[in-house]
């Protein structure tokens, strides 16, 4: 990085003029000496240290550059892009039928939220309504996924704080939820189950008893975590008052989800702008007042219980009927129909070779993922592939909160701050 190539390329020259230090550099600043007003000698300047991209606490491939004065963080700069695979470009090459397989790989910890926002965006452009059973199945799956995602947070957060029991407990309960999701969708992750027009398959036999069993199990698990951590003086000492963020800072920086709610601002898209059938189920927005790492931990813990509440209502009130719209232009025909109907065979063939065409238009659709507002800005140009597919990943925006939260804290607390943001780098880099 340090060696700059001298070039006549206008692009290069422009880049160099615009950047003080470049996206991946951090220059040490000389410290002011209060008494004399002079500057410290060069070798007494602040220290730059580099965390990641392979550091275990950075959740994948996040790289953080820190400018330190002693052990106090003066500046923090997240360097991202190590997982960039051009998924938005890939999305322009895939048809609307194939699109769900692409977006589901962005936030790999809550893939169903990604599929949901993609499907809702496509359905809005098509003006398609999905039947009630599909709506409730989607809602149940997304909430199960939220449970799994927040359980994973409990595990990784515990791991970063060196609380190793909670790490094993979190993985244990999450695995149970993923096993249930596997039973329903066929896959643990990257499900490709929620698709434009509905869901991929109907609920399997015995889903209701299994779902209730997993709900009871996770509920018991959450009580166990709560007993272990919520009154644990070491845990409270380690997290409370660390990485404080105010509501004004959070809103200004585009922060959404549990981080915004931890600052005392009760904003949840499921309540504020209901989609699916969230206006018909009973649940609460969890929010706290302090905006520190401890609050962000508690919010996610209690949100698991709220999700269990919603899942139980879904089990109880799951409507009968079809699990996808019966529009032959966007829904593949049932397998048995292909044997007897030429039209069904043609529709099936056309759907999986060409896909369906979406009229020209644009839309921004947003839902509440476990990490905050996930949005899909979709531009259609009348063909079977989107002209532009942009996912607003909540983690991408939430990473901007690292700098104000870590400023002035110790390096050890920075680990707690990174962990409490719960970033998923697949979604940050896309």
């Amino acid at each position: 990085m340090s060696e700059k190539v001298i070039t006549n390329d206008s692009e290069q020259i422009r880049l160099e003029n615009q950047t003080g230090e470049g996206a991946q550099e951090l220059q040490p600043q000389t410290r002011d000496v209060v008494l004399t007003g002079g500057l410290w000698p060069e070798d007494e300047a602040t220290t730059i240290i580099n965390m990641g991209p392979q550091h275990p606490s950075t959740h994948g491939v996040l790289r953080i550059m820190l400018e330190l004065d002693g052990e106090t963080v003066l500046r923090l700069k997240p360097v991202i892009g190590y997982l960039h695979t051009g998924m938005e470009k890939t999305g322009e090459e895939l048809t609307y039928v194939q699109g769900a397989t692409n977006v589901t790989r962005m936030d790999y910890v809550s893939p169903l939220s990604n599929e949901l926002v993609w499907s809702l965006a496509v359905e809005r452009l098509l003006d398609v309504e999905v039947p009630p059973r599909a709506v409730w199945m989607r809602m149940m799956l997304v909430e199960l996924n939220r449970m799994a995602s927040h359980l994973l947070f409990q595990a990784t957060n515990g791991m970063d704080m060196a609380a190793l029991s909670i790490m094993i407990y979190g993985w244990r309960e999450r695995e149970e939820v993923l096993r249930l999701i596997e039973m329903i969708t066929g896959l643990r992750m990257n499900n490709n189950f929620i698709r434009p027009s509905g869901v991929a398959a109907d609920l399997p036999e015995g889903w209701d008893t299994e779902t209730l069993r997993v709900c009871d199990l996770v509920e018991k698990g959450v009580q166990e975590y709560s007993a272990m951590l919520n009154e644990n003086p070491i845990w409270i000492e380690r997290l409370s008052g660390v990485g404080v963020l105010t509501t004004e800072q959070a809103i200004g920086l585009g922060i959404t989800g549990p981080i915004l709610r931890s600052t005392g601002f009760p904003w949840d898209l499921r309540k504020a702008q209901p989609y699916l059938a969230y206006d018909e189920v009973d649940f609460d927005i969890i929010y706290t007042e302090n905006g520190d790492c401890y609050d962000r931990f508690t919010i996610r813990l209690i949100e698991i219980l709220e999700s269990i509440k919603i899942v139980r209502q879904c089990v109880e009130r799951m409507p009968p009927g079809d699990y996808r719209t019966q529009d032959p232009k966007i829904t593949p025909p049932p397998r048995t129909r292909i044997n007897e109907s030429m039209e069904a065979l043609i529709h099936h063939f056309k759907l999986f070779t060409e896909g369906f065409r979406v009229p020209a238009g644009e839309t921004y659709t947003a839902v509440e993922s476990p990490r905050g507002e996930i949005g899909c800005y979709l531009v259609a140009d009348g063909t079977a592939k989107p002209a532009r597919m942009h996912i607003r990943g909540p983690s991408f925006y939430n990473l901007q909160s690292l700098a104000p939260m870590a400023k002035g804290s110790l390096v050890a607390d920075t680990v707690a701050v990174i962990s409490s943001v719960d970033p998923i780098l697949g979604e940050v880099d896309r």
Binding site: D127, P266, F396
Partner: protein
Amino acid sequence: MADNEPTATEEVAAPVVADEVASAVIAKFPRAIFNDSHGQAVLYIDRADWHAVAEFLRNEERFTQCVDVTAVDHLLDETRLSVAGITPERFETVANFLSHPRNRRIRLIAQVSEFDTTIASLTDIYPGTNFPEREVFDLLGIEFIGHPDLTRILLPDEWTGHPLRKDDAPARIPVAFKGDPGPQ
């Protein structure tokens, strides 16, 4: 916190005058054009008004958060959404705004010419647009004037080109794995 309590779902499905924010913006910026896109309020504004309209939305209309900034390259569109009164350009810059107290959204779209890919940065009004504007600069090459640190964010600094442009072909730059002997 009473006025922050979510009230009712905001869905605007009505002619121009029905959207109060849009009519307020049009009254102040006469070149703005309202469009109802599948029930969502969209304002097509002049590129020169980009910063002023965002400032107006924040200060006068209480749009507290800029949720997303992105851009679109329309070079290869088969058919393009046509809105009356808009001279389409190759690029469109898109920003989505959310008002927490009013519980509604609005979207601003500005046409950006292929030959002058610049637009004002919103970072001084909404600091959260820092990362997304860098992303748009990185992937589509639109320059945000006034951005504090307009550098590549997802791609390496020494990368050339902007991959989300339609004329930037995938696999144009060979990516070699270390130790890969290459095709035999």
